[in-house]
Symmetry: C2
Subunit: 204 residues, 2 copies
DNA sequence: CCTACCGATCGGTAGG
DNA sequence: CCTACCGATCGGTAGG
């Protein structure tokens, strides 16, 4: 019976986390109260504190679960795809799927990092850096001439993530443009830009 | 003498606004207290309320002054430059100059819109939409084939602003890459992507 | 799992 | 009378 209760515990905890993610996304971490989270869960404030030690622990959970799935998805593609051009397109597509399916978590991840204490923030930032480093390696495979220009590579990788991450401010998964099209447009611009600025026509 | 006092009033008011912008950017609107703003201004809370009716009015001022200068800069280029390709490059460069020179205002504009009441928020959003509409017209000048595909144009314009606006999360004006280079990279990718996806080779 | 609370701090305002 | 400004404190609400 203890196992059954534990399973139920994790399930309720996750439900609280997802409800909190929605409120944190809409009102901000500081703008959303624990009482509001409890009300949205149709339960009491005390129940929330039974599942989480603090409001901040819920925030960490929202961010950590999401950033981990992003890094994992990219790693999987990196390991199973050889062509660096296809890597870019597949990673963009996979990230957009995860963004569109977890809009609240994505908004919170991008907007509320400052509300974590340094030690927990660095855990999240580490995972984000894994994603950036992975894309940096992919970029280097496409543009080996940039081997000694890390600052420029960093800027280029940030353009890629800029196009994708900015979608949280405007993209509507229910709208006329599908998230797969957004991924195609972003990776298309990224690759076209890399090709056009390359020293030789070795790209393509 | 009344004129001299009025001039001093505006000057002090602006100093408060810029100090508040820095705190709002670092700690968020809800995370920064009026007491902190006063302390950072080396004055009292009451003095702050002498210059602004509320904490929220300061927020509006921070956003409004910034978004207006962004829209104005783009409008000026739009009116004085004929070549749509050059328009893109010049607007990107002008926006990056304003972003780099007003980092705090830019962060606040992008992160704290939800903390304005609907009526004041719509004033800011209207100015942002002017910028988007302007870029949409420029895009249409480059890619007339997209005349009937507004959703796709919107997505393309958002890629442009995604690259530029995402810089507030990573770009360091004191770093090795200049903001003019960022503008070149972003507009280069945008234009290369437009060219590559065009139905004919009419672009360039 | 709830009601009843706490220490602290919030945005905003009082008298002078 | 006005403005510019201060130290102290208001009523409510936050997380816990």
């Amino acid at each position: 019976m203890a196992r059954t209760q534990a399973a139920d515990f994790d399930k309720r905890r996750e439900a609280i986390m997802e409800t909190a993610a929605g409120l944190y996304a809409r009102k901000g971490f500081l703008g959303a109260s624990v009482a509001e989270i409890a009300a949205a869960c149709e339960t009491s404030k005390s129940l929330i504190y039974h599942y989480y030690p603090s409001k901040e622990d819920i925030l960490f959970d929202v961010m950590y679960s999401h950033v981990q799935s992003l890094a994992e998805a990219a790693r999987l593609i990196d390991e199973t795809e050889d062509d660096p051009l296809k890597k870019v397109r597949r990673i963009a597509a996979a990230l957009m799927v995860l963004y569109a399916g977890h809009e609240a978590n994505q908004k919170v991840l991008l907007n509320e990092l400052a509300n974590l204490p340094p030690d927990r923030r660095s855990v999240i930032v580490d995972h984000q850096r894994q994603l950036l480093d992975l894309m940096d390696a992919v970029l280097l495979g496409i543009r080996p001439d940039l081997k000694t220009d890390r600052p420029r590579r960093r800027a280029l990788v940030m353009m890629f993530f800029g196009m994708l991450n900015w979608t949280h401010t405007w993209f509507d998964p229910a709208g006329p443009v599908k998230n797969s099209e957004i991924a195609d447009i972003a990776s298309g611009m990224f690759l076209a830009g890399l090709e056009k600025s390359a020293p030789t026509n070795s790209v393509g």
